[in-house]
């Protein structure tokens, strides 16, 4: 019985793993193109397991950014995991002991969270382990493949593949924007600020990492002030 719960988790993780394989492939390419070694790229993927944070991270690392900038960028970009962690903690089975939370919590990603919280039953450690296994392998393996073999691809194809990560981001934000005009306005605000910082020469001193932080914090504060979520609503959708 326990074994079948693990298997159910494995099966639920397959589509996530396939998506991660493709996206981390583009991360591997981007990391090596930015000047990191394949081993360094793989280590980042195995210890971080997060797309946006890692992409921002390699930008800061290869630009020789400060430790503070790196820490702050990871904090702001990945802060969403705290919210997910809070939400997920309500769904965890009693058998989820502190050590198990400490180990399996590492695999909390947008997609794994999404699948785990949408389960009607409490989430058991075995189910979560099954769910996280293939995506973790996919993310690490894809990074390795991209980092090692990315150089063999012609530069044009490599650039095109590195766009896949942005495609994944679009796939995450568009459904949210589609279901809530308020969320759409706030996302648009973040994009407008991002473009202003990018294109207006006065803001050239702002690095990419800080730009993301500035855009996200300003737009999200405006969102929280203008369009606060309803009292017992987890999300707009």
């Amino acid at each position: 019985m326990k074994k079948s719960i693990f298997t159910t988790g494995l099966r639920d993780g397959i589509p996530i793993a396939l998506g991660y394989l493709a996206v981390s492939f583009s991360f591997g390419i981007a990391a090596v193109a930015a000047g990191l070694s394949p081993i360094e790229a793989i280590l980042i993927s195995m210890t971080n397991l997060t797309s946006a944070g890692q992409f921002a991270g390699i930008g800061i690392i290869t630009a020789g950014g400060s430790y503070f900038e790196l820490a702050l960028s990871q904090f702001v970009i990945n802060l969403r995991y705290s919210l997910m962690g809070i939400s997920l903690s309500q769904k965890l089975d009693k058998s989820f002991s502190t050590p198990k939370r400490a180990i399996l919590g590492h695999a909390l990603t947008d997609e794994i969270f999404g699948v785990a919280v949408s389960r009607t039953k409490p989430v058991t450690p075995l189910y979560f382990l099954g769910l996280a296994t293939l995506p973790y392998i996919g993310w690490s393996l894809g990074t390795a493949l991209g980092a090692v073999f990315g150089e063999l691809l012609n530069p044009m194809l490599r650039d095109a593949l590195s766009v896949a990560i942005y495609g994944m981001f679009i796939a995450i934000i568009v459904p949210e924007a589609k279901c809530s005009i308020k969320t759409a306005i706030i996302i648009l605000l973040a994009i407008v600020i991002s473009c202003i910082i990018y294109y207006v020469p006065v803001f050239d001193f702002i690095s990419d990492g800080f730009s993301i932080i500035i855009c996200a914090v300003i737009a999200s504060v405006v969102g929280a002030v203008l369009f606060p979520i309803k009292e017992d609503e987890d999300n707009g959708c």
């Binding site: 919210l83 495609g167 706030i186 473009c195 606060p228």
Partner: protein, 101 residues
């Protein structure tokens, strides 16, 4: 791999790991503050929006490649396609434009 990279790696890992695990270990109750809850709800999407635009326009030499790629991705996503399809469609459209232009 030099010492500086190891420090960078340790910072990335520690910050990201603690963000993920601390709430699971510490917070048993729901956050009641409406402002914080709303702010946290908007954060992932504003981060991803700011990361994607305008960066996607500047991957290829000609910004039109990224524009066509982004529009393709948005259209696919609006029509409810999944993560893989949207990511692949965005990359494919960008690649085709690179070849054409």
């Amino acid at each position: 791999m030099d010492a500086k990279f190891v420090i960078y790696l340790a910072i990335m890992f520690c910050v990201t790991y603690l963000i993920r695990v601390l709430p699971l270990l510490l917070i048993k109750k729901k956050i009641e503050n409406r402002f914080i809850r709303s702010f946290l709800m908007y954060v992932p999407y504003t981060v991803l929006g700011a990361m994607t635009f305008p960066a996607i326009f500047h991957i290829a030499q000609n910004p039109l490649c990224g524009i066509v790629g982004a529009v393709t991705g948005i259209v696919l996503a609006v029509f409810g396609r999944g993560l893989c399809t949207v990511a692949a469609g965005t990359a494919a459209a960008t690649y085709i434009m690179m070849i054409v232009l």
